[in-house]
Symmetry: C2
């Protein structure tokens, strides 16, 4: 009997004369990583060694290689899944990972978002509309100044106000001082606006430190956090979903690389599978180079049916501006969160007004 397998798909650049050997090399590297004649165990040869399932010529020296890996090599750990689907092969510049088949057992094991788009909307009483988010920055400001900025942003009635991803636990704004102060500042603003704006602190450090941060955040009445899976380890993303299911989690793209894992796959499928309620990605036309087509595919993956998993809220970012709201909503539709950070902060003392204009523009677009 064949063991259960799942397919991984790579794009490989090499001379046509080498592609069969390269494909077989990936199959071995991503499974047993040793010469096959050294394997004495017949079950391992039959059930564990990766198999080349297909090679397609894409032209111009590019090939698409499909490998069948054994599901049982992944176990129940997101880090080990990443180890098996790319891991050592990440050291080959000519190899990128473009697709991973998600068998139902992976959905059972990892569970996907615990809240997802609909859970976040329900908390905000947002009906079926798109959501808004902004960021508190720059790092280096004192805690009181960060809190004052958060207060101004929250007066605009935005949905989510997140820490900049650079806010870790530095001396200028330690987590244990920053988070209660900002949470309180946002609470004061929401008492004035009547809108249940969420403050979203950034988690950093190892999982032990993250858990202390999660506890402190919960004690401040916070129910949403942010972390960067490729920086902190995807196992930490999985651990939040598993061990802190009441917390929603926004996944930040820091250290996600320049496409060695295709962004649509990484953000739209893998982060979602591992538990991200929202995936922040660098949208086309901002400071980063993703194509509009790639962003559309990422968006579609985050929302596509996947063994009953909740959908992950796509959150385009990375240099968006208020003037682009209609274009962005035309492109993505309702099921999106628009994250506008720096350009909103340019309004300085008019931040509450600009924030309110952003919120109104998004709320009214499909109304």
């Amino acid at each position: 009997m064949m063991s259960a397998r799942f397919h991984t798909t790579y794009q490989v650049r090499c001379p046509a004369s080498e592609i069969e050997a390269r494909a077989q090399g990936i199959a071995v590297e991503q499974s047993v990583e040793m010469p096959l004649p050294a394997i004495e165990d017949a079950r391992v040869l039959a059930d564990i060694v990766g198999q080349v399932a297909g090679i397609a010529d894409l032209g111009d020296g590019g090939f698409e290689v499909k490998i069948a890996l054994a599901i049982e090599t992944v176990g129940a750990d997101a880090g080990q899944m990443l180890n098996m689907i790319l891991g050592n092969s990440s050291m080959h510049a000519c190899v990128s990972l473009v697709d991973v088949e998600i068998p139902p057992v992976f959905a059972d094991v990892f569970g996907g978002p615990r809240h997802g788009l609909e859970g976040l909307r329900a908390r905000l009483g947002a009906g079926r509309r798109p959501l808004t988010a902004t960021a508190i920055k720059p790092q280096g400001m004192a805690v009181a100044d960060l809190a004052a900025l958060a207060h101004r942003l929250a007066l605009g009635g935005l949905d989510f106000i997140k820490d900049d991803h650079s806010l870790a636990d530095q001396a200028f704004s330690p987590f244990a001082l920053r988070v209660p102060a900002i949470a309180e500042a946002v609470r004061r603003a929401t008492a004035a606006t009547g809108h249940p704006t969420r403050y979203v602190p950034m988690l950093s450090g190892d999982w032990g430190r993250m858990q202390a941060q999660l506890g402190l955040a919960r004690d401040c009445g916070i129910d949403t956090v942010m972390m960067a899976p490729m920086l902190s380890g995807v196992a930490s993303l999985q651990a939040i979903a598993r061990e802190w299911p009441e917390m929603a989690v926004l996944a930040h793209p820091s250290m996600s690389g320049a496409g060695q894992i295709a962004p649509d796959l990484l953000f739209g499928t893998l982060f979602r599978l591992w538990g991200a309620d929202s995936v922040i990605f660098a949208h086309h036309g901002g400071r980063f180079g993703l194509s509009a087509a790639m962003c559309a595919r990422l968006f579609a993956r985050a929302l596509a049916p996947l063994h009953g998993l909740r959908v992950s809220l796509p959150t385009p970012a990375g240099g968006m501006e208020l003037a682009r709201v209609p274009e962005l909503l035309d492109f993505f539709g309702r099921d999106v969160m628009l994250l506008i950070g720096g350009s909103l902060l340019l309004a300085r003392e008019r931040i509450p007004l600009e924030g309110a204009a952003f919120q109104r523009a998004v709320e009214n677009y499909f109304a």
Copy 2:
């Protein structure tokens, strides 16, 4: 007064007409990530915003860009350091990180290897000789078979016998069953050989699970573990060095990428700074594409004086063979560990003999 800064160096590919803007873009992205006119805090503008410290034309559309970042933005977390030195800029395919200045305060904060080359040699009574290592694989074997293989390998009198990096916590060989069984098998062999061979289990999962694994390993008499910093999060590497200082740690290169962080910098300097006692890297002439010059630089960095930090044992691997031992030792000299995995396993029932030949070849080369 200027705040204290450290330099990061990037290679950037772009038209010459764009390099100044790109350099300034990196300086902003890796510090405040927002339009400078939006910053109201004079101290942040003076002390926190990254500064372009130099641009050199490398020819052929390549440039070297030096950025001065504020030390205080790093704090005391290895993950946050990675966030600041590459983080968001990892999403630019045209940007790679090639050097990071390590000011003394980083050495104080991170502490480097707790054992390093000399600590590992002392445990093994290895004098000034090079060390040897091999790997237990393939994954998919039952625990008893993995233990029997480890026993055969240990009978050869090798220094380190490590789990393959694919051995996580899968159902076919759960950590809690595998590690005690292999530790016992290696102990039986060392009683026969008289050589204090170390068994090195692979850690996986979030830091909470890693700590449970560390505890179980310690209870089995194990004093050396392996983990993959770029897979599990560099903060977990730092956490082992900080919270389990009696444990030596081998850093595995899974998910280290194809040079967006230059391997000499990543393995020779950063992993060392963050606490790796040994750095396993894919050596020239094996299955991966590193140049001999890059491997030589990596080696030199791992051993170079760095504010009094212990040196990290360079461990070339990735398709090495017994026949290459003289060449490898000629290339690296004494201060190295040779890791030969798959090719040693080809010996099958002659593994103890081949292992002993490997050990003798290394022990005698400089004797």
